[in-house]
């Protein structure tokens, strides 16, 4: 349904360890793959290229750490709980609505 390209690009020939300017070229390529990298979904050769790049690019290293932190926070955000009276009241409302029609 999405019209745009997805996170994992088909091209695998570029390396990430060449000189660059942030926002252009290899760092922008890396940006597309970060979730797949964090989720361990990339082939090992791409992971190696990314690790090599991170070793030479402090900004990308900091950026990926911040994305990992973001995902960690989302995964651990405490969930809201229902009270038992909420459960009972909602059940009653659902059955009332179901029987009313």
């Amino acid at each position: 349904m999405t019209k745009k390209k997805t996170a994992v690009p088909k091209k695998r020939s570029r390396t990430f360890s060449q000189p660059h300017t942030h926002g252009q070229g290899h760092c922008a390529d890396l940006l597309r793959q970060l979730s797949a990298y964090i989720d361990d979904e990339l082939p090992s050769d791409i992971c190696r290229e990314i690790r090599r790049h991170l070793g030479t690019c402090p900004n990308c290293e900091v950026f990926i750490a911040s994305l990992k932190q973001t995902v960690t926070l989302c995964r651990h955000r405490p969930a809201q709980q229902l009270t038992s009276s909420d459960r009972l009241n909602m059940r009653r409302a659902i059955l009332d609505a179901a029987h009313a029609r």
Partner: protein, 206 residues
């Protein structure tokens, strides 16, 4: 792609299944409320969504053949109901997030100014300011991206299962999830969170 709960005759009248519905409700209401709250961001909307979900489930129970997991079926009903309800309430336009907008343009945008060093995620999230910043960032996400983030990173479902629920293939789910994470990261990076040691004084819940 649609989950496998096609209609199949002969179907039983919904009124003949109170025990079945009660079990469905008892076993899944907490799960669906948690999901609904994460999608809606407030308790009242979440309760409305739970009721709409289980009302639709009550009516559809006789047609559920068990080809999908019950939880997947309920997540799907809730997701569709959420989209309908939000459309009705806000008429909000959906805008697409492009990767280019997430490229940092200044040094300060690369890192998060969040006190997490030496803390577990649970301890870090006892900081009320951080919880609010995270909630606000998630709440600002366009809903199709928020749904992907909630299903994958908060409900812990696989990309395949999230795709079944959202009616998308795995690639599309991953694409939305990636943009959603980058969006939340950017929102958090724009905030300076102060270091409250609330976890040492018993913590907070909200």
């Amino acid at each position: 792609m649609r989950p496998a709960f096609r209609k199949t005759p002969p179907s039983r009248p919904a009124m003949q299944q109170p025990d079945e519905f009660d079990k469905l409700y008892r076993d899944h209401v907490d799960l669906i409320y948690r999901y609904a709250y994460r999608l809606c961001g407030d308790a009242e909307s979440a309760k409305d969504l739970v009721q709409e979900t289980f009302l639709n489930a009550y009516r559809g129970l006789k047609d559920f053949r068990g080809e999908a997991r019950v939880s997947t079926w309920l997540y799907t009903i809730a997701s569709r109901a959420c989209i309908r309800m939000r459309r009705k309430r806000k008429g909000e336009p959906e805008h697409a997030l492009s990767l280019e907008e997430f490229v940092p343009t200044s040094e300060g945008e690369f890192r998060l100014q969040i006190p997490m060093d030496g803390l577990t995620p649970e301890e870090a999230l006892q900081n009320k300011e951080l919880r609010q910043a995270l909630d606000q960032a998630i709440d600002k996400l366009p809903k199709k991206y928020r749904m992907a983030l909630v299903l994958r990173d908060m409900e812990g479902l696989s990309a395949k299962e999230a795709g079944t629920i959202m009616g998308l293939n795995e690639r599309a789910v991953k694409s939305r999830l990636h943009r959603a994470r980058l969006f939340v990261r950017r929102e958090l990076s724009a905030r300076g969170i102060t270091n409250h040691n609330e976890h040492k004084s018993g913590g907070l819940r909200s």
